[in-house]
Amino acid sequence: MNRTWTYFTRLVAVERRKLFGRALLWAELGILALFMGVIYVALIAALNKGGTPGTPPEAIEAFRRSLYWPAGLYSAFTFANGGELGGMFVAVLVGAFVAQEYTWHTLHFWLSRGVARTAYLLAKSAVIVLALLLLVLTALVVGGGVTGVFTYLEMGGLPLKEISLLTFVLNFLRTALTLLPYAALTLFLAVVSRSTMVAIGVSMAYSLLVENLIVELLALFSPDIARGARFLPTMLSKSLMQLVSPAAETQVQVGMQTQAGSALLSPNVAALLLVVYTLVLLGLSLWFFRRQDITV
């Protein structure tokens, strides 16, 4: 057991070096940071100009409050969640990181040296989780940073007493959790297709297009059938993110069917289902990977 663990941590070290030595990872984090920075600054600028003419002052006030800490801090997490930008970033990162092992023959290189297939894929998955945490951290630092400065300037201090460490950590983990099924889906696609293009393409198409399409298709039938959409990862993510950042999620939902809120599963059930999706996809990936012929 102990030796197995040592061996596993060594493989994780190899995969960590491979992933964290990659320009792609840092480029993704840079893009996310830049994008979020621009959005937050634009929001604050718009706010300070008083919003569009005719906006009721209460609405502007509510919006302003949503940018103050702690709400502003937690709103940063929404950018990294799986149902939104996060899902896209994960598709690109995991697709490239896993599928390129086949095309670069790095897979052949390590497996032919006696690395066990299960350990190999699990080590890769562990490192992917590290990268997801880094993604959430980036969103937090940028979004939390900008809103923090804003809060400080407007209120002359930060309401640190209102921020519970437990809630903060939980929200961090909840956000990362919403990314897991998308990462596992991409992992599965990469293993089965062995193609970077297919893995990234199909995973992105799913999270950007297919999932929303399913939601709308289901809505065409009876309300009961439409409620089936609650079980899709994107809706599960929404359910969790509503807990993380109620203000931001309500904004997102403007325009969606108004009963969306009531149609979501409870956050605890959603979290559990996200874990189930992830484990099932990871299990399927392992099952395929172990039986696969690694051809040259």
């Binding site: 070096r17 290189f109 040296r113 297939r117 040259v296």
Partner: protein, 237 residues
């Protein structure tokens, strides 16, 4: 003599193609064994089964006395493998790629890495990213990766492919020296003279089947050279 590598009725079918057809091999300790065959004979497919990348359709593989399958590859940690194109991480340097292997072979230290880089003539290029390397350089780094942990057994798939004539000669001399020092080597090649020059024993593979096997002297009996042996064996089949 002790068998270091053995296959029993090893067979691989890809759809209609019978790439490897009931191959029985036995490589003894200390031998430099040549696995000779033209392009498409089934050399790479056989080697891929030896190192647990492919599932045999039939038959099995034993290495260092232990069975190897794609889900049981532990014996391969004591083997050095070179299967081009060698899968280095392209955005890491040659040296960093070798350093990754230290996680797998804890007995390897920095001194050993520098020593092996020197030995394969890559000391000056070791800091460059592998993606800037030529095919020959990648091949030599591949050899370094195979030799790094001083394995008892080397499994090499056409190790001289992609090398220039001088590189080929150096590779042959190095392999012969390693064999003389006690390393068992299984190498595939489609180059008859290469095999004739350095190998102790040879198996000739054609359309996935072993057509002849023996020491170079045994095969050469009454023949001009291995080419002559090879052609007559193939024609007689």
């Amino acid at each position: 003599m002790e068998a270091i590598l053995q296959t029993f009725s090893l067979t691989k079918r890809f759809g209609d193609v019978l790439a490897v057809d009931h191959v029985n091999l036995r490589v003894n300790e200390g031998e430099l064994f040549g696995f000779l065959g033209p392009n498409g004979a089934g050399k790479t497919t056989t080697i891929s089964m030896l190192v647990g990348l492919l599932y045999p359709t039939e038959g099995r593989v034993e290495i260092l006395g232990d069975e190897v399958t794609p889900t049981h590859t532990a014996p391969l940690r004591r083997v050095g493998t070179l299967i081009p194109p060698v899968g280095f991480v392209p955005y890491l340097s040659g040296r960093e790629n070798l350093r990754l292997l230290v996680h797998l072979y804890p007995e390897v230290d920095d001194r050993r890495i520098e020593e092996i880089l020197e030995q394969v003539g890559l000391r000056d290029a070791a800091h460059r990213r592998v993606k800037t390397y030529s095919t020959g350089m990648k091949q030599r780094l591949g050899l370094a990766a195979a030799l790094l942990h001083r394995p008892k057994l080397l499994i090499l798939d056409e190790p001289t492919s992609g090398l220039d004539p001088i590189g080929m000669k150096e590779m042959r001399e190095l392999l012969r020296r390693l064999a003389d020092e006690g390393t068992t080597i299984f190498l595939s090649s489609h180059l008859l003279h290469e095999v004739e020059q350095i190998c102790d024993r040879v198996a000739i593979l054609h359309h996935g089947r072993i057509l002849a096997e023996g020491t170079v002297q045994e095969l050469l009996r009454g023949r001009r050279d291995l080419e002559d042996v090879f052609l007559s064996v193939i024609e007689g089949n």
